[in-house]
């Protein structure tokens, strides 16, 4: 929590004979983040791939070609296969598959291209089909030019007017005219110009002989023969697919892992008799790797820790308790924190659901969101990002329900009890009497909602600056001190806001009498018609020169930015009020339609129409769009207002040497 997992720089060294075993062992443990070896010298060079690499890659290449030929890229075997079984069968299977798949896939390709060729010939013969001229007569004249193709308009009148001695065959088809034009060579250019003016598109006739009609018939029957062949081959391929798909996918996975392992020496340093693997290991698991290497390599390779050298690019593995983990999703969307930085996931875990819940603040919609989150958790385990999002929605829905139940006392935009000044307003009282009264009414106490939002903003930003202080304290005391100056200015702005609120809201009254009491926000002076607290002025007056000393003049421009940052939290109130008003508007418009629809069939139809409209509007506009906007705003407050106070990011993800087996099972030796 707050800090990523501790990492130790370590080297694994050993004699070259144990390289194979060591690499296998490291992959199985999956805890060493390898640092690629780059500085070659006379002694140490990049390693050579393990012996099995070339054979495994060849097989892998063939298998991948087969996967494409059999079109089983998306196939997911239902059962796993033992590696022993794969290794035992693969040679034989590759031969069988080569015979059955490669030749058949080739044949299929040939037939498909033949069919395409013949279809193209039929298409090009189609325009001249009705002219009754053998195909060979369209070509090979010394004194004649021949144009065959499609015109957009009939060119005959224009040809008659300008060209002598021509013969035109034409066949009108819908909006186009198929033509074959024979002219003497001297009229060729003129004819070509006229045809171009009439939207002429040339058709290249195939080099065939005979009557086009008969040729087309022959081609059609050839195509149908080829299609029969194709079907037969497809059936053969299908049977191969059924028989071998599971095996091929599992073998592909196994071989990919083998190749990955076999090519690892290309990233490490080796000499004639030894090897050195440099990397990072989670400090807590050092002992584990030590024992494993002892057991597997019989003392031929061992691990040594290396002291840190100044600032290094240490890989980052976030370390958070299980319930907090899904919120790492938000961090990954932006950037991995650096190893020395504070990991803010825990703050997201607290603030995101609270902000989200406050904005939704409704028992009905909150319960709906919880259900949605639960469904995602149960059904979409295969999609890691969505799975995490499910937990986030679940948490947000839970807090929204709590706010809806205890604070705002409403469900689906309808209050539990009608407000005292409007007893006619629709409420749940007519259905069920829930003995909870609202602590706060969204739409009637907007100022209170705003004050609460500013308190949340102040707390959130304060944490941001405190994190900023701790992130900077190790490498720049000056920047760390600047964060304290910012904290003072922030407190000044907040005190001023609360002083302005005075007794108008319960929140400001409470803050002024408790947390802010030592600052005496009550003692004020009127400046430009605004009630200004002395303490706020003093805090800002101390903060600004401190900023000048620590961050320079440029930082002053950002003071206004800090003010807008705090005001920005007003969106919490804005979305909550806006969403509540929208639900209220749909309810008050459509309840009338539903409950006062009158007697008879017409009344029932109107009531049903009203219910359908209400459900659709509430579901789409309030539930989905409301949840979406509340989610985006809660995320934004964290990303923009909060993160920019301390977060730099740009850390390297911890990616250990490891693999994942889904369809193959490694047999323990």
């Amino acid at each position: 929590m707050l800090r990523p997992e501790g990492m130790t720089r370590a080297v694994v060294v050993g004699s070259i004979e144990s390289l194979d075993g060591t690499i296998g062992c490291l992959y199985e443990l999956g805890i060493l983040h390898l640092i690629d070896f780059t500085k070659q010298d006379d002694e140490f060079k990049l390693g050579q791939p393990l012996q099995e690499a070339s054979d495994a890659s060849q097989k892998l290449l063939k298998l991948r070609a087969m996967i494409r030929a059999l079109e089983i890229e998306g196939h997911r075997p239902k059962e796993t296969l033992q590696v022993k079984e794969i290794n035992g069968k693969i040679e034989q299977a590759m031969v069988t598959l080569d015979l059955n798949t490669s030749t058949k896939a080739e044949a299929r390709q040939k037939i498909q291209s033949l069919i395409r060729e013949k279809e193209a010939e039929i298409k090009s013969l189609d325009p001249v089909r009705t002219f009754g001229i053998p195909v060979e007569y369209y070509d090979g004249y010394e004194n004649l030019a021949v144009f065959v193709g499609i015109c957009k308009q009939d060119p005959e009148p224009a040809l008659r007017a300008k060209v002598k001695d021509f013969e035109l065959f034409a066949n009108a088809k819908k909006s186009e005219i198929a033509i074959a034009l024979f002219v003497k060579n001297e009229w060729r250019l003129e004819a070509s110009r006229i045809l171009t003016d009439h939207g002429f598109q040339e058709v290249k006739l195939p080099k065939l002989e005979g009557n086009p009609e008969k040729i087309m018939l022959r081609l059609s029957s050839e195509i149908s023969d080829l299609e029969k062949d194709l079907k037969r081959i497809e059936a053969d391929i299908d049977s191969v697919r059924k028989q071998f798909a599971d095996f091929i996918i599992a073998s592909e996975e196994h071989l990919a892992i083998e190749v990955l392992k076999a090519e690892t020496p290309l990233r490490i340093a080796t000499s004639a008799n030894s090897f050195v693997i440099d990397g990072w290991i989670p400090t807590a698991r050092m002992e584990e790797i030590r024992t494993a290497l002892d057991e597997k390599c019989c003392g031929l390779s061992f691990v040594e820790t290396v002291p840190r050298e100044g600032e290094e690019d240490t890989p980052v593995k976030l370390k958070n308790p299980q319930p907090v983990k899904p919120f790492e999703f938000f961090i990954n969307l932006v950037s991995t924190p650096k190893y020395e930085e504070i990991d803010p996931t825990i703050i997201l875990f607290i603030t995101f659901p609270i902000f989200f819940g406050f904005m939704i603040g409704d028992l009905g919609f909150g319960a709906g969101l919880m259900a949605l989150g639960a469904v995602i958790r149960l059904k979409l385990k295969g999609f890691p990002d969505l799975y995490k999002l499910g937990a986030i929605i679940l948490a947000g829905g839970l807090i929204a329900s709590i706010f809806g139940l205890f604070v705002f006392a409403e469900a689906f935009g309808v209050p539990f009890h009608p407000p005292p000044d409007n007893l006619e307003e629709a409420s749940w009282e007519s259905v069920v009497n829930i003995p909870i009264h609202p602590m706060l009414e969204k739409m009637r106490n907007v100022l209170e909602m705003l004050a609460l939002s500013f308190v949340a903003g102040w707390l959130h930003l304060t944490i941001g600056f405190v994190f900023g202080f701790f992130n900077n304290i190790h490498h720049s005391k000056k920047h760390a001190l600047a964060k304290i100056a910012w904290l003072l200015i922030l407190l000044g702005i907040f005190t001023e806001l609360m002083a302005m609120g005075g007794n108008a809201t319960e929140t400001s009254k409470f803050m002024n009498s408790t947390v802010l009491a030592p600052l005496m926000p009550g003692s004020t002076v009127m400046i430009a018609g605004i009630k200004t607290a002395y303490s706020a002025l003093a805090l800002i007056a101390i903060g600004i020169p401190s900023l000048l000393l620590t961050e320079g003049g440029q930082a002053l421009t950002e003071v206004i930015g800090l003010f807008t940052n705090l005001i920005s939290y007003a969106r919490l109130a804005a979305i909550a009020v806006g969403k509540g008003a929208m639900a209220f508007a749909f309810n008050s418009m459509l309840f009338g339609m539903i409950f006062e629809s009158g007697p008879g069939v017409v009344g029932v139809v109107i009531a049903i129409l009203g219910i359908v409209t209400l459900v659709v509007c509430q579901l789409f506009f309030v539930f989905f769009l409301g949840a979406l906007s509340a989610g985006i705003q809660a995320m934004r407050l964290n990303y923009v207002e909060f993160f920019l106070k301390f977060f730099e990011g740009g850390g390297t993800d911890f990616k250990p040497l490891s693999y994942e087996r889904k369809y193959s099972v490694a047999t323990t030796k």
């Binding site: 932006v334 907007v446 100022l447 705003l450 807008t564 920005s568 934004r636 993160f643």
Partner: protein
């Protein structure tokens, strides 16, 4: 309702409406660029969102002014 209150309410409407239009214009261009960047490199999504939502502060300021006007009316 006295004319002053009416004017204040119209002012509140203009404050939030005009601020909304301003935010919209700013976001339309940033949004298009952010989607383009994300299409090229999905890792840009987070940064794209940050840039996209920056102009929202304008409409929030409009909202606060509208509330202040509304409460004064």
């Amino acid at each position: 309702m006295d004319p002053g209150t009416g004017m204040a309410l119209i002012g509140a409407g203009i404050a939030i409406g005009a601020a909304g239009i301003g935010t919209g214009i700013a976001q339309s261009q940033i949004g298009a660029a952010a989607v383009g960047a994300t299409a090229e490199d999905p890792k840009m999504f987070g940064r794209g969102i940050i840039l996209l939502v920056l102009p929202e502060t304008i409409v929030i300021l409009g909202f606060v002014i509208a509330i202040l006007l509304w409460l004064k009316s």
